[in-house]
Point group: C2
Amino acid sequence: MNDSELKLAALRADDVIFKYLPEEDGYPATVISAMNYSVKTGGKRIRPIFMQETYKMFGGKGEVVEPFMAAIEMIHTYSLVHDDLEAMDNDEFRRGRKTTHVIYGEGMAILAGDGLLNLAFETALKAFDVKGADNAGVIKALKLLAEKSGLYGMLGGQACDVDAEQKKRAIDMDELMYIHKNKTGALIEAAMLIGAILAGADDKELEKVDQIALLVGTAFQIEDDILDVEGDASVTGKPVGSDERNNKVTYVTLCGIEEARSDARAMSERAIEVFDSLGRENDFLRELIISMIGRVS
Amino acid sequence: MNDSELKLAALRADDVIFKYLPEEDGYPATVISAMNYSVKTGGKRIRPIFMQETYKMFGGKGEVVEPFMAAIEMIHTYSLVHDDLEAMDNDEFRRGRKTTHVIYGEGMAILAGDGLLNLAFETALKAFDVKGADNAGVIKALKLLAEKSGLYGMLGGQACDVDAEQKKRAIDMDELMYIHKNKTGALIEAAMLIGAILAGADDKELEKVDQIALLVGTAFQIEDDILDVEGDASVTGKPVGSDERNNKVTYVTLCGIEEARSDARAMSERAIEVFDSLGRENDFLRELIISMIGRVS
């Protein structure tokens, strides 16, 4: 899959996501502007794309997936806005543009993140109003979204990471895998599972989708660790060698680069194996998985 | 209504709320501990009490209201945790105890707030699993909770307030009423409306409940402004005269104390009038409304 195909898919996802962004007027116009800036400032829209493609693969045809596509991108965005805050990573730039707190101030950026998390649930709840929506599926999808974003998902992984850094606590392989699985993996899991649930996939299929998503999420994160050592800043989006400078424990520091590379490769191959065993057709999604987790040779 | 009756009601609400708090173990134990500290540190539990009493007044008998009681208190708590942050009001004490960021650090307090907001929705979604729950009512209640907590409710009012302060922008009566209505009023509205919805109140009744909640919320806030000038710090929970020292625009600075007092009284009387016109019995709730908005003579 080449870059222009990925960009086109992101633009199509934008069309869906932007429909659910609030109008910048009324008394709270400043916080709305900060929220919209944070979402519109870009990104690969990997999570909504994964969701929509999984939905299509299981025969989903309606629009019930759209509010959830917007919701998961809002949740991903809020986590970045809060991550970048002075009190957290204190990052001034993301993808070449100033971060939200640099433009709007720390307090307004905190509120913009809160606003996006709240709006995510407000938006996902709109799925009940989509014509022909199956309420039981929407309820199941909502529960999954809430679970995978919170303590037992993304936020849990993030909080564990911040805690270890604050306390300068050495982490072992189990804790590192917990962080990877949750901080990065949980929203990819949610994306694919919600797509499958809304399209009516059965429990056996959901189990396989979950396996694929976890393998993809973990392999992706290990590759990030590898690329931090030997990669290209234009691919990873952060300066090469930043983990080492920050004394960060990564898969590479724990296992060495050779084992990291071979583990990432094994996970990727396993993900494609499970994908193929589903017996469903979606070449675009298959290629997307290969390209996401095939960034190291 | 005397203080000990209010305290007893708060303790009964605690029994419900605490059931939904997470266990402090596993890798994210620190953030869970920060979340639980924030909730357990107390408060009058006015919102869950209002919700439950409204539910009972309309004949509600099941447990479907309980997850929503916990959820609304989690949302109220997250807003206080984020409000108290260094980047916001930088308050070191609340109700005589150290605020969350003072104990756990600014970054962990941001995450604890995020975690509580997320957990609120995760918890409210559990209402679908309560035996005998009416899905349509739960869906309606969830939508209302999301709306009144977010941009078109509490968060909108809070963001407008922060924006005016940051820019040292003078606000007029319209904007002040917008802030009061949303920052303070929206969660009281949500509490009473959700109680009524879950008990199956009809549209006409909901309209009256909404009216009562708005009057109570606004009168309560105006009384806070009055008490700041001439009140007792043990009632308001903040030092007397703090609004003036902070050059804060309040109902009192805009209208004078006499008009503020007579407006608050008129709103309170109107709230009780509408309450009585419902033709429903709940003496406890009626007394609670009177005591909440009867703090100035």
